[in-house]
């Protein structure tokens, strides 16, 4: 029978070969012509693990590391592997109850499933770490420790300088400037961390890992053949003297205000105190968010960097500049004498500007005693100078001087959130009063640094550097150099000398004389330091808050030593009351002494202690603190969340200091809903920490303010 059907062998063989051919064709199709499968395979089988480099270290001018990194640990958990471990022990070590324990485990499972690791407790304290280390062998393999690099601050000073890191948010992710950041990354949100983000961040590395079907990383692809190594951030050298900074913060304790000290030769910032400040450590570590919210809501506004963001009327410190302009314009000489019979009557009767010292003064003595009439007259002569066809043009000339002195515009400091300040322009007065309807007498208070003039502390310090250098300044900055070179050209602006108007040295000599006399036998005697020739100028600034007159701001600015100046400095103590010489001058004196002598004489140590204890925070702040506290306690977090406050807190991390104020305002606004109109006005006023800088019209213009001394 087999004989008959032998040919069927071939049929069967053909079927076999045919079927194998079909399969082979499909294999060729899959493996050669379909590229999608390779992409799919890489997508699901490979993981690009981003390796974060250490951020750069920051050194002060003496080589101390003032901002560095340290390693802390997160306790991680893989819920699927915790069977058999002693739950009670975990709770005991971490000091949590079993309900909290279960909550965290469930949160971990929801977030990362039970077979992947999740953070159980982030950023362990040293104490918990010590306890854990002893017991870790009992908790394995369900629990383990994971390293994490965080910022460390060896000196508890300079919070406002360094800034802080925060998680990136949706605003940042949308910004093309910050390309490459992903959710969960940390980024510099303020201070140096923000300005020099690119430098400090370094270059991220990438490791390719294989992962399995449950998204667990299994091993490195080809032992890291395709990986790129992370490059650590560049180290930076600041001009800060950390000990001087610490002293400044100590002196400003329990006060609102600021100290800015600059090296006039280089423009390097020696110290930049904004008070109240915060310990920089508060904004790293586990409690970061809680502390941030507290700081943000504090009415004293510790996160607000007063040194660059607060604007004040400069008060009498402004008179030195009037003297420079007057001398250079030739409307006065050093010997020009103006007498004060009690007030400035140059604008007719009306409301005269008072002066305290009756008598007749030449320039040096006018500076020494801060004579209002003298400088009102000087500015009157500048503005009404027949050399210029109109008030418009003469004010424009005056403005040009002010711009040359670094006022009225951002200096370009390497600290974020710098403010413009304000120097009134003809255009501005045209807008307020109408064209041709204003003259010198309309704005005479500007001559003594009140009214529409506004400066930031850094501008005032820079102005002192300008005077100390006899006619030039370099933009104040924190960073002197970057290790490995300034790749992003961030420092190039700081090399340039700014001397827009050439003023002869002789003019400066006269002003220096006056300023030296201020300290030696004038209004600024409190700044005197034995053995150092200090030039200075006091200022006592009237100010209003919500239309109510507040205690005066105390100002003192100066430089030292007179020949070959090494430090230009300014200090403002807000609402201290009394005169500039009372509170601000001694602080400046101590700072100068510390910087030039490297120490404070034993017999003067007492002044430091006295100032450290001196509390000049106005009662208004304490009242507001109470309101915020009660609000925070009365309204639980759910309510705040519903109202959008908590979200606001998170979203505004990036935004400048003003917005913090807005949150505060909004909370207050919601609180007393009824007085909406009034509140709005308040808000506008409150945005400016100083006083009414911009006066809407003549009627509303407050009394012409006198500056005393």
């Amino acid at each position: 029978m087999s004989v008959f059907n032998q040919s069927r062998k071939n049929v069967i063989m053909l079927v076999f070969i045919g079927m194998f051919g079909i399969i082979l064709a499909q294999l060729i199709n899959l493996q050669v012509f379909s590229s999608q499968y390779k992409i799919d395979a890489d997508n699901q089988g490979l993981f690009r693990k981003v390796i974060y480099p250490d951020r750069g270290i920051v050194f002060d001018r003496n080589g101390h590391a003032i901002l560095q990194n340290t390693v802390i640990y997160d306790l991680m958990v893989i819920p699927g592997k915790t069977k058999g471990t002693d739950t009670a022990a975990v709770c005991r070590i971490l000091n949590i109850d079993s309900a909290e324990f279960h909550k965290r485990i469930i949160a971990a499972i929801i977030k990362n499933k039970s077979y992947r690791a999740s953070v159980f407790e982030p950023m362990l304290s040293n104490e918990k770490m010590a306890k854990l280390n002893e017991n870790l062998y009992k908790l394995a393999p369900g629990y383990f420790l994971q390293e994490r690099s965080v910022r460390d601050y060896p000196y508890e000073a300079g919070g406002n300088i360094f800034g802080y890191l925060g998680e990136v948010d949706s605003n940042i992710l949308k910004n093309p400037k910050y390309q490459g950041y992903v959710m969960g990354d940390y980024i510099g949100r303020a201070g140096l961390e923000r300005t020099y983000e690119k430098v400090l961040m370094g270059q991220r590395g990438i490791e390719f890992w294989k992962k399995d079907n449950l998204n667990r990383l299994t091993e490195q692809l080809e032992n890291g053949k395709f990986d790129t190594a992370a490059i650590a951030g560049q180290n930076m050298f600041t001009s800060i003297d950390i000990e001087l900074q610490a002293l400044g913060e100590k002196l400003m304790e329990n006060k609102l205000g600021s100290i800015v000290a600059v090296d006039p030769k280089t423009g390097g910032i020696l110290a930049m105190v904004s008070s109240p400040t915060y310990k920089p450590k508060l904004l790293t570590g586990a409690e970061r968010k809680k502390h941030y919210a507290e700081l943000l809501l504090s009415p004293a506004r510790p996160l607000f960097n007063r040194a660059v963001s607060a604007t004040y009327s400069p008060g009498s410190t402004f008179k030195t500049l009037q003297a420079l302009i007057g001398l250079h314009e030739g409307v006065i000489t050093t010997d020009t004498r103006v007498s004060c019979s009690g007030a400035f009557y140059g604008c007719g009767s009306g409301k005269p500007m008072r002066c305290l010292d009756y008598g007749t003064f030449d320039l040096r003595n006018a500076i020494r005693l801060s004579d209002n009439t003298y400088f009102a007259t000087v500015m009157q002569r500048v503005i009404n100078n027949p050399k210029y066809p109109s008030v418009d043009s003469s004010l424009a000339v005056w403005d040009r001087y002010m711009y040359a002195f670094g006022l009225g515009h951002r200096l370009g400091v390497d600290v974020p959130s710098e403010y413009n300040g304000n120097i009134p322009t003809p255009l501005y007065y045209d807008k307020v009063y109408g064209k041709g309807r204003w003259n010198y007498c309309t704005f005479r208070s500007v001559s003594i640094g009140q009214g529409e003039v506004n400066t930031t502390p850094i501008q005032t310090a820079n102005e002192m550097a300008y005077i100390a250098n006899k006619g030039w300044y370099r933009i104040p900055h924190l960073i002197d150099s970057i290790e490995g070179g300034d790749q992003f050209e961030l420092l190039s602006n700081f090399k340039e000398k700014h001397n827009a108007i050439d003023i002869p040295d002789s003019v400066f000599e006269a002003v220096h004389d006056g300023m030296q006399w201020v300290v030696e036998r004038g209004t600024g005697g409190g700044a005197k330091v034995p053995g150092i020739a200090i030039c200075g100028k006091t200022g006592t600034v009237e100010n209003y808050y919500r239309g109510v007159k507040q205690p005066n701001h105390a100002f003192f600015c100066g430089f030292a030593p007179r020949d070959n100046p090494k430090i230009a400095i300014m200090c403002v103590v807000e609402n201290s009351g009394r005169f500039g010489g009372t509170y601000a001058a001694p602080i400046v004196g101590l700072m100068i002494e510390k910087y030039l002598n490297d120490t404070i004489a034993k017999n003067r140590q007492g002044i430091v202690d006295k100032f450290e204890k001196l509390n000049l925070i106005p009662p208004r702040i304490y009242r507001e603190m109470k309101t915020v506290d009660s609000m925070l306690h009365a309204k639980d977090s759910a309510y705040l969340l519903a109202k959008g406050y908590i979200k606001l807190i998170r979203d505004t991390m990036e935004i400048d200091a003003t917005d913090e104020q807005e949150i505060l305002d909004q909370i207050k606004k919601d609180k007393d809903d009824g007085k909406k109109d009034e509140q709005k006005k308040d808000k506008d006023e409150k945005l400016k920490i100083n006083t009414e800088a911009i006066l809407p019209n003549e009627k509303k213009k407050p009394e012409v303010k006198d500056s005393v001394m």
Binding site: I23, A41, K210
Partner: protein, 439 residues
Amino acid sequence: MLVWLYALIVIFGIVCIYSVEYKSTDDLWRTLTGFKKNYSKQLFFFAACSVLAVFILLTDSKLFTATSNISYLVGIVLILATFVVGKEIKGSKSWIPLGFMNLQPVELCKIFTALALSKYLSMPEMDFKKPKSQLIAAAIAFSPGILSILQGETGLAMVYFSFLIPMYREGLPGFYLISLIGLGSLIVISLVLPAITILVSFTLIALGCIYFLRRQFRRNRSLLTLIIAVWIFSSLIATLGVKVLMTKVFKPYQAARIYSMVGKTNPYIDINTANLSAKDLEQIEKDKRRAQAAQNYNVNQSKIAIGSGGITGKGFLKGTQTRGDFVPEQHTDFIFTSVGENFGLLGTGVLMIVYLFFLLRIITIAERQRSTFSRVYAYSVAGIMFFHIVVNICVTVGLAPVIGITLPLMSYGGSSLLTFTILIFVLIKLDADRQMVLR
């Protein structure tokens, strides 16, 4: 010759299982002898099978003919026994637990069926042209498969179709096979196309045939009857038959697999949903999609793994997909994916050629047998292996619905390796005695 090919494929299989389970931290020697990992177990199975192979080669060939009927009966009894003592593994209650391993009688019964069929067809007075003997042969070949379908193990049951190959070789009219294939393609078409399209096109084809063949009808009346009969039958299958098949014969998951093969969702799954609320319908829709996704997951992952191998593959132990456990059942039914990913088209192509060579070699051996028993048996072995190889690889490359069927000699599993070892070595022993006339 076959022995060497056999050993080559089995060792290559172990290598592939190793590549699936390999972890860079493992100490090869310790795990290989540790008996914990699948590849070390498979190595042990291989050793055991080798011992068994030696015993088979030492046996007298007459033993196989003598015991074929009784062993077939034992096999049937074992399958029946699973109804009582069966252990459920992966959805089918077709396993008998033996302590050290689980035995699947349907798997073993392939051997007994092959022997019994050979015995029957080699009977001295056999006339395979008689429909009666064809029916008996079919009964012998298919009854284990039918029993196994009743247990819910469809994949293995379908292997018994492969006995059509030796039967065809022994004279089963080609008409049967053609109509069977025709029926199969008819079902596939009716799955893909809507019933009305099929009805219309069938009617058009029938009318066309009648028109062109109208001259012939005078001479051959039955031709017209045949055309009309085929037309009525096909239409019935296309409209009602498939529906009955999908709703009554197959379980929903099987129907879903078949539909996913042709790229469709099962339209009969919600056959009784007319009076359900919108919410329920939504839920059903969701379940359906989830089931669909799960079904497609296996095939998708397998295609990704094979496709990502490219021409030369990623290199031994360098596959990301096989190592990441993305492909389910990777060491058993989907072992071919690790070949595809690690060794690429070169690897899969060479493996296919080795298998094809193996099969053609068996056919050559079959044709040189003097006794019908040996020849039928050899064709049975070739048929079974062919079916296993083709269906398994078609599943992994997405040409067939997911059917749980092993790749001969490569897939992990003692039961499967044991069966194929016996099948092949009995053949080798019979071939060694090919001068004897065995009945």
